[in-house]
């Protein structure tokens, strides 16, 4: 082991961190009195503190690695923590050979879900044995196949829960389609688990709530009967496990080889949900309750995924209730990222709204963030890029980047800027005008979400090519619903086929090999069916997908980073279908073609899923911005990142009330809360969430923050949900901000 001073000195070396921690950061690293509540503003080095605290436990206190659990929100973030730990530990080991045996691989590090899964497997917890863990797509498919709620068409019921149904209006005259019912059911079921709902209370409420409980119970039975577990129930199983004999062994050790769990460190705690809160508290049940939570309630963005900022805001109450102990609060308020004017701006922004001052919205007693970055200079670090008309803004952005940032060598590469938007889709109301302006001016952009997934050319062409091969007679078009109308999938598939046709007819795109593949496959497939002695012909859809991908234009498209990302996602979606053992091609009874039942299920289940539910982009993707490209990102994608110059547009938009906000209120009566919590109106929750979203956007900037908006867009008079500038005070903003 080494002493604390040497520890800090070693890590401050250039070969490790390259700088020393400030006094507050060190206090957070060294604190040893039980629960620690670390409120960390943007750019305050919170992950650095968490990593250093972990290493301090290992190298100074001699805590066994197996006694430490370190979790964060996404896989890339966990990987990043692991990388930093390794990197710094090696410097410490080089300095002191007694640390050679510190083995980081023994630390339990990862997302909470991955830790739950690993530990349940490791301890062979009986209810989790031989169980298949369903990912998001598989949970949808499983619900579609086995949950009774998917067949429930009661219009009143769905109107009651309309907020959970995607793209469906509560005044609709017909109940939502099966896939929409499934998606809504998954949202509701997951909330029941994530929010620690008391089912008895919900049942007693009667009406649609009681119906929901019955459907939920049937779903749980279906999961058990089919040896499946979804991610929400993985957490529930884990919480149960902690009270079992195996769980006790895991928490308290066995007195022999197995060490007790002594330290729990949680990053991004603002994105935790109530069941996770309970898990973390249960993990740290051992005196003196060494749980460290790190996060920033002002940067909570994931309510739509079940996260609840209340966990961060009320951590003191949770500790009081559970441990009868008050956590030690430390605020990391020094910002090492941004120019002081940017810090002043986002400080002013977050504190200027009355909605944010209401009790329970922000963590109590927070001070303003203090600028501490080495970035200095007397220039307007926060500027307002404005034009009278919104349609002139994209050209203005191009001019700023091309004629100033690049031409004047302010930046060395386009990847040092980012354009942040609420939606980066290439449509007129979203990023479309910006994308067009960049393309017209030959500014290369990196925007993997430029198209909604299903609208992108490469995805449509790939699916159309598959349809052409397995269903050359286009049987998909012949299916009718009960009213005699074409099934919902018909039109979209025809659109895909049209997209493919226009690509095949485009003389500038090489497609000869693809055409040949489709034609030859149409000749060969019936022969294969005829020659097969078994129903299954030994071929699955993903195999065909890879053969299509090997042909131009797909082989060329894969060289484009954004297209490549989407095409890889198609393979993962098919893997989900494959996991249900549904994608192996079967021949029909006469043995001369593909089985129509196989095709029907493919359209009815898989294709409808793609069409009706909309495929979400991966939130957890590891964002690697290629050099030479200007990144266009959603604010969610930019979370955790920083850029020298940040342009934020679509400032006139306001948030919409969704299921997450409504359920926050509606489920209040059924929640098994650890502490009393303020129930906020969904309208107010939307405003809070929008303010947090823009706070995250504004605090990404290091050297320059550029708000891109017309005078009308920064004016909230007509719409109070619009919160682009501090205090909705556009006059004051105009007075204080350099306009270009």
């Amino acid at each position: 082991m080494i002493d604390l001073i040497t520890f800090h000195t070693c890590l401050a070396q250039q070969s490790a961190r390259g700088y020393d921690l400030d006094s507050k950061q060190k206090e957070a690293v060294e604190y040893s009195g039980g629960p620690l509540w670390l409120l960390a503003g943007p750019g305050s080095g919170k992950s650095e503190v968490l990593v250093t605290r972990t290493l301090k436990l290992l190298c100074v206190n001699g805590v066994a690695p197996r006694s430490i659990a370190l979790t964060t929100f996404t896989k890339p973030a966990a990987q990043n923590l692991e990388d930093r730990l390794s990197s710094y530990l090696s410097v410490l080991q080089a300095f002191d050979s007694s640390l050679k045996n510190v083995d980081l691989s023994d630390i339990r590090i990862g997302t909470l879900h991955s830790l739950c899964n690993d530990i349940l497997q490791e301890y062979r917890y009986p209810p989790y044995q031989n169980v298949r863990l369903l990912d998001k797509v598989e949970q949808d498919l499983f619900t579609y196949r086995t949950a009774d709620i998917s067949e429930y068409k009661n219009l009143d019921f769905w109107r009651y829960f309309h907020h959970a149904v995607p793209k469906w209006h509560q005044n609709a005259k017909f109940s939502p389609s099966k896939w929409k019912r499934v998606k809504a059911a998954v949202v509701l079921f997951n909330h029941i688990v994530d929010d620690c709902i008391d089912l008895t209370k919900m049942l007693q409420a009667g009406g649609h709530w009681a119906t929901l409980v019955k459907f939920y119970q049937q779903y749980i039975e279906a999961l058990q009967d089919n040896y499946r577990c979804d991610f929400a129930h993985l957490q529930a199983r884990f919480l149960e496990f902690l009270t079992s004999s195996g769980g006790k062994r895991f928490l308290d050790g066995d007195g022999l080889n197995q060490v007790p769990l002594q330290h729990v460190l949680v990053d991004e705690y603002q994105d935790t949900n109530p069941i996770q809160e309970r898990i973390y508290l249960a993990l740290s049940h051992k005196q003196p309750h060494n749980i460290t939570v790190v996060g920033d309630d002002d940067q909570a963005l994931y309510r739509f995924r079940g996260a609840n900022v209340a966990c961060m805001v009320n951590f003191d109450k949770a500790c009081q209730t559970t441990f009868a102990k008050t956590p030690y609060p430390i605020q990391l308020k020094r910002n090492y990222r941004s120019h002081s004017r940017i810090v002043d701006f986002f400080n002013n922004y977050i504190t200027s709204f009355s909605e944010m001052a209401a009790p329970g919205v922000r963590a109590p007693g927070k001070d303003l963030v203090e600028p501490a970055s080495s970035i200095q200079g007397n220039y307007p670090a926060v500027t307002w890029l404005t034009r009278k008309k919104a349609e002139d803004l994209p050209e203005a952005v191009v001019q700023l980047i091309r004629d100033h940032l690049v031409a004047d060598n302010v930046i060395a590469d386009l990847s040092q800027c980012v354009l942040l938007l609420r939606s980066t889709q290439d449509s007129p109301g979203n990023a479309g005008p910006f994308i067009t302006a960049f393309k017209e001016n030959n500014i290369p952009i990196y925007n993997p979400r430029s198209k909604s997934f299903m609208e992108s050319e490469e995805v449509q062409c790939l699916l159309a090519a598959l349809v052409e091969i397995i269903d050359k007679k286009h049987s998909f078009a012949s299916y009718k619903d009960q009213k005699g109308e074409s099934r919902l999938w018909v039109k979209p598939i025809q659109d895909w086929l049209n997209t493919l046709r226009s690509v095949l007819n485009d003389p500038t795109i090489p497609t000869a090999l693809l055409e040949d593949y489709i034609c030859s496959s149409n000749v060969e497939l019936p022969k294969i069916c005829a020659a097969s002695t078994q129903t299954f012909i030994g071929l699955n859809l993903l195999e065909i997908i890879y053969r299509i991908l090997s042909r131009e234009p797909f082989s060329l498209w894969r060289q484009d980073p954004s297209r490549n990302l989407r095409l890889s996602k198609v393979t993962r979606l098919f893997e989900g279908y494959h996991s249900m053992s549904l994608d192996s091609l079967r021949r029909n009874k006469s043995g001369i073609d593909v089985d129509p039942t196989f095709l029907y299920r493919f359209y009815d289940m898989f294709v409808s899923y793609l069409i009706e539910t909309g495929i979400d982009d991966d939130e957890d993707e590891d964002v690697i911005v290629p050099q030479g490209y200007l990144p266009i990102m959603t604010i969610h994608q930019a979370k955790g990142l920083e850029f020298p110059f940040v342009l934020v547009a679509q400032l006139g938009d306001s948030g919409r009330i969704g299921s997450a906000q409504i359920l926050e209120t509606d489920l209040a009566n059924f929640r098994q809360g650890l502490y009393p919590r303020n129930v906020r109106d969904p309208e107010l929750l939307v405003i809070e969430d929008t303010i947090r979203l823009l706070y995250v956007a504004y605090s990404r900037a290091k050297n320059g923050l550029i708000l891109v908006a017309t005078p009308d867009q920064v004016n909230s008079k007509k719409n109070l949900k619009r919160v682009p500038v501090p205090g909705r005070d556009h006059v004051e903003f105009r007075r204080n901000t350099v306009a270009i």
Partner: protein, 335 residues
């Protein structure tokens, strides 16, 4: 237009702020085997149509790890000192019958039948875990083969090997200038059966393939891997291991359990200091190539002959690849 940022110049950061961790078996060896495969499946996360390769190796490794835990009483203290199944071997038909019963139970959504042996039980547990990661056997023959090999290993090597195992999944890692390298050694074995010291220990690594017919490049990669492990071992323990052993599990396969260790099953990799140094240099070179490919997006397919035809034959990317078939590529199948 006003130029608010005149006079400022922000340079591009020259080095990544954090060193990336590279695993020998998950990064370096796959990249050296075929950069295109590595880029597609490991970096860009394409989902392979089948994961036979992963299935075979992972199942063997994980079940053997459970066998060691069984012997050392880690899963259940009552099994301490006991060989799984006491070394007993089930016939192929018994195994297939159980697979059938299991399949029917799954189809009917009824409780799975009780496994007929410890090895089969561990195998099914591991297989279920792998299924949740989308890894499954391509044919039922593969499943039978895996269980057969596991039983043979258990019966043939278990009695002598298990008591000598000091550690399984022995993790090693070290810091290099631009990256962290890490690896997991399957077994640390003390051949002296005494309370030995690290310089007495042997590093064992299981390979889910045969030695006979192995592509020389693959063997070269395996040797490279063991030499890097030897370096990591030296960094951790201050001494080199006594021996580095590769165990080719598929050499055990056949209709009956071999009566003695097949001559091609086990090979000792030479770990002379100069060979180790060369391997470490190679490692660093490979890391640089991976980093470069990440920047350029250029993931080259393997040079024909450098990768086994068997690996190419099950690769989803083979249809537009010039590596298989001695560089001639493969004929596209329709559909």
């Amino acid at each position: 237009m006003k130029k608010p940022f005149s006079g400022i110049s922000v340079p591009l950061p020259t080095t990544p702020p954090v060193k990336r961790r590279y695993s020998i078996t998950q990064d370096i060896v796959p990249f050296r085997r075929c950069a295109r495969q590595y880029g597609t499946f490991n970096v860009h996360k394409y989902a392979p149509a089948y994961q036979t390769q992963t299935y075979f190796g992972t199942t063997l490794h994980q079940v053997l790890d459970r066998c060691h835990s069984h012997f050392h009483g880690i899963i259940d203290p009552a099994t301490k000192g006991l060989l799984p199944d006491n070394g007993k071997i089930l016939g192929d038909q018994d195994i297939l019958d159980y697979f059938d019963e299991l399949r029917i139970a799954e189809k009917l959504s009824t409780a799975p039948p009780t496994p007929p042996s410890d090895i089969v039980k561990y195998f099914v547990e591991v297989e279920n875990g792998l299924k949740s990661r989308g890894i499954r056997a391509i044919k039922s023959d593969n499943r039978l083969q895996v269980v057969r090999i596991l039983q043979y290993f258990n019966a043939l090597e278990g009695p002598v090997l298990y008591p000598r195992v000091i550690d399984t999944e022995h993790r090693l890692q070290a810091d290099r200038t631009n990256h962290i390298l890490h690896g997991v050694v399957d077994l640390l074995v003390d051949p002296t059966t005494s309370a030995g010291v690290p310089e007495d220990y042997e590093m064992w690594d299981y390979k889910g393939s045969t030695r006979v017919g192995l592509n020389p490049k693959d063997l070269e990669n395996y040797e490279f891997q063991m030499r890097v492990y030897a370096k990591l071992y030296e960094l951790k323990h201050g001494v080199l291991p006594r021996r580095a052993i590769l165990y080719f599990l598929n050499e055990l396969d056949g209709p009956t359990c071999p009566s003695k260790q097949p001559v091609n099953a086990l090979i000792e990799v030479s770990i002379l200091p100069t060979e180790i140094d060369n391997a470490v240099i190679e490692f660093a070179k490979t890391v640089m190539q991976i980093e470069q490919a990440r920047v350029t997006g250029n993931w080259q397919s393997a040079i024909p002959g450098d990768i086994s035809e068997k690996d190419c034959a099950i690769c989803d990317l083979r249809w537009d690849c010039n590596t298989p078939n001695g560089g001639k590529g493969v004929k596209l199948r329709y559909p």
